[in-house]
Symmetry: C2
Subunit: 230 residues, 2 copies
Amino acid sequence: MGNVNRGLLAVGSDRSPSRAREDYVKAIYQLGAGGPVRAAALARYLNVSRVSVSKAKRLLEADGLLDREREPSQPLRLSRRGRRLAIAMVRRHRLLETFFHRVLRIPLERVHAEAERIEHVISDDVAMRIATLLGRPQRDPHGHPIPYDDDLRTEKPLPTLAALRAGDRANVISLDDRDDAAVAVLADGGLLPGARIVVQRSDASCVVVRRGKRVVTLRRAHAAMVRIGA
Amino acid sequence: MGNVNRGLLAVGSDRSPSRAREDYVKAIYQLGAGGPVRAAALARYLNVSRVSVSKAKRLLEADGLLDREREPSQPLRLSRRGRRLAIAMVRRHRLLETFFHRVLRIPLERVHAEAERIEHVISDDVAMRIATLLGRPQRDPHGHPIPYDDDLRTEKPLPTLAALRAGDRANVISLDDRDDAAVAVLADGGLLPGARIVVQRSDASCVVVRRGKRVVTLRRAHAAMVRIGA
DNA sequence: GATTCACGTTACCCATGGCTAACGTCAACC
DNA sequence: GGTTGACGTTAGCCATGGGTAACGTGAATC
């Protein structure tokens, strides 16, 4: 039957997913890296009650975005369609961030919030035209890879700067873009993807790193936002 | 008291207006050119029932976007804040269209629909950075002026191509972008802002115009989408 | 073994933004 | 003057997406 609403807002299951449902799908993908996710963890991640997650679960199953579980209380697992939707949103998000940073020169710590709202409403055509404009970039300005196909990512989680000890050397690979304040501090210290660093000290509260001639002191929480490679 | 919702979707009067409310405000502005608008006309324009308009009216008044009317059954009149919001949306819409057309090379008949969704979620900062990128364009690709300040426009409605008679000459000033099919036909015929044309014939069903060596036959409905100047 | 605690669910409430049915008003038209 | 029609409103329905309160389950902890 579908739905009868013909007004200003899309409502019902025969339309494209609402903003809220897209947020659920994306969060499940990012929390679980493609695998199942506990409802309580999802609720904490999205700052929402467990009840809301429980209800969203049923709606997302009805939309075909989650695999149906026969047992109740089973974790949330994206369907093939759900996974494709999540990856498309990550693609749009990262392309937007790259465009905002490279072309519009928006400060790094602000591109995430801007992209977060727009990723739900731009068409795939616009996203791919932006990709072409930018020369099909492989990584966004935080260092995260841009998924151009719908394949499952095997992004193994890299260690963070918080795991290093004095004397360790590393390359900055990427920054967690969810914490604007952290990104501002890190960008200000020049700890951007590609930077080569040496850890000078690491204690319970702070991590001190040297980058070239510059010494930067980070709160541990901020150091944990920096993914590193050899 | 405001509202308690802290979830994924903004709800309540202390947040920025929802997509639906922004659509109402913009429609009131475009229908009334700043003046009052009848509820029934608004309902027809937005493809919504009169009841929905009646309810929206109360909510928009509570938001401070409409002037409160003491008499019931009075037309809808934007408040100063409502007018500012409407103009900001028109500005964002037209800047987005210009960007899509000039930079991303999206066909003219598709830029309206793309901008229509994004105009609700981009920040004014992004809009102004796009304006700078484009060299602060004065008109969008359909020929409509881009309002950079919040002043009331005195756009007197221009005559359309449908009002001309055989032998008349005119300049195309702008196209109505709400009808994608018409825009596609007009762009295909080269009847874009700036084009100089001569009317060859005009009858009940068709208008035939010459542009340079090219002769274009238009359905009357499409000719009515073309605003002209001397 | 008893207790505690996290988890998922249910029952209910609320605001938004659609809808139809029905009504009173007012103006225009026979 | 009566009828017709457009208009705005009210009452009531529905889906979405939030929220609390409360409950049963199961695992961990004492």
